[in-house]
Amino acid sequence: MQELIRNGIIVDDTFAEAFGMRATAIIITAPTLKWARQAAITMTGFATSVIGCGCEAAIDIDIPASKTPDGRPGCRVMIFAMSTDELQKQLKARLGQCVLTSPGSACFAGLEGSASLDLGSSLRYFGDGWQISKKFGGRHYWRVPVMDGEFLCEAKTGMTKEAVGGGNFLLLAADAEKALAAAERAVAAIGKVPGAIMPFPGGIVRSGSKVGGKYKGMMASTNDAYAPTLRGVVKSALGPDINAVLEIVIDGENDDAVTAAMRAGLKAVIDFGPKRGALRISAGNYGGKLGKFHYHLKDLLP
């Protein structure tokens, strides 16, 4: 594999392989940013991977009070799934259990898309007949009386079929501390890119996987080629200087958002340098045959 070097960091000439997904977004507001984020964090909990969680979700960006529909601080949450039905199911369940229940919350459409998904249209029945429909400015809202006032919720939000899931890169470092430091830099930089989320804990994955496994029924198992403790005993992808690898996984509302996020993340890691952070950067793919979207690292470097 050909190697490039940027700021002393080796960049593998490889690519991240990503897939087409369905995505939606909502804006959650509350009396304070803390409580808007709390509703969002609760709603996006247990949403790291479609394989086990049904969807992938995270906070996209915080939105200042001056830019939200109701003039209160808020944040934009993005949710990704493989099918429209699953996305609607996850959205309804998470909205009903996590946002409706959160103190002072309100919820608005966060995406103009080719199709629409129900928000308040499915939750309004909680109002038991006391729900109020309001249509103005070309939008439709539901007001549902609750114990701290009213849950204000837009009737529908948009859905896009242009979304991309699985953009990624791997950070290979001398030890776990340095890998984490580099990954945190990348997460902070990608967090500022609108339209892209990192669904894993704090944006970082430590258990990258390969397809299949030796046990029956395992769709994925540990990526032994990148496990440093197995360096001597398996066909390892790691050199003698690498003792920890972390992965950043990115979902974006379109190809451009993933590209921008990859670019921002790579720049942050490269600017951080090899002494405190990553010695080498790579990316995960399946040989290029499964995913429609390929992100070549060499095209995205600063």
Binding site: I132, K134, G137
Partner: protein, 270 residues
């Protein structure tokens, strides 16, 4: 293209039915044909050419240069485009209107926006009774759209309306939202007696406590909800008001409990 302009020659001698002079109905019609349309309501009805001098060609943008209280049904059933009246109009402007914009720079007569379905009516002067209401025998009034009255409004605005917004910027007469089914009425200034009488659902949003409120409206206290800020912002973005109407924690009354009782009256100050 210059707007299709109907210049009033002199005060008409009879009431006029102007429902034929809308962007939809005049699209592609030659001027000679327009001039021959009968608009008078007497036994020997006047034609457009008798009453107006016609200039301009853009039928999607119609201007009446000069108005009269005898101009009935201006913009009735219009679906697209724009009509501006530089003066007063008579009864039922925007009757069953389905889209587009109707601007009346003077006063309007009875039942402006009666049975309106969509679109926007702006009346800069006063407006008569029954704004957005039903005509006799109809089961509901307006079902969508926006009516803004910048002058004073008469009795019974929004009677039996189902959807849409009516904004009355210098108050209105008695029985605002009489028998309202749903929708929103905004009023700044003095509102008359018994607003919301027999309303089932819907919102009456005022800038002050109404003087005479039916006993069948129940005090819900001051409510800390997100809706007022959202709606205030809409009113300002649409340039209906230049400052918030309700603000934080408005007073809310629920009613009318003589009927379904799912409507509300909200206002900011005690």
């Amino acid at each position: 293209m210059k707007p299709l302009t109907f210049m009033l020659r002199s005060e008409p001698e009879e009431r006029l039915d102007l429902s034929g002079l809308t962007p939809d109905k005049l699209a592609g019609m030659p001027v000679a044909e327009i001039a021959g349309l009968k608009i008078g309501l007497s036994r020997r009805p006047a034609t457009v050419g008798d009453v107006f001098k016609i200039t301009g060609t853009d039928a999607s943008n119609i201007v009446f240069a000069g108005g009269s209280g005898r101009f009935d049904l201006v913009g009735a059933e219009m679906g697209t485009g724009r009509i501006r009246v530089e003066g007063d109009v008579g009864a039922r402007p925007g009757r069953r209107m389905a889209g587009g914009t109707l601007v009346i720079e003077g006063k309007a007569g009875l039942q402006a926006g009666s049975g309106m379905k969509n679109g926007r009516i702006e009346i800069n002067g006063d407006a008569g009774e029954g704004i957005g209401g039903p005509m006799a025998g109809e089961i509901h009034g307006m079902t969508g759209g926006l009516i803004i009255v910048r002058g004073k409004a008469g009795h019974r605005p929004g009677e039996r309306m189902r959807r849409g917004i009516i904004a009355l910027l210098k108050g209105c007469g008695d029985y605002a939202g009489l028998g309202m089914i749903a929708g929103t009425i905004v009023a700044t200034g003095r509102v008359g007696r018994y607003p919301g009488h027999l309303m089932k659902r819907g919102s009456l949003l005022f800038d002050r406590r109404p003087a005479d409120l039916s006993l069948t409206f129940m005090d819900c206290g001051r409510v800390d909800i997100a809706f007022p800020a959202l709606f205030d912002r809409y009113l300002m973005e649409e340039k209906i008001l230049d400052r918030p109407l309700l603000g934080a924690k408005p007073y809310r009354f629920g009613g009318d409990n003589a009927v379904l009782g799912k409507g509300e009256i909200m206002f900011p100050k005690g």
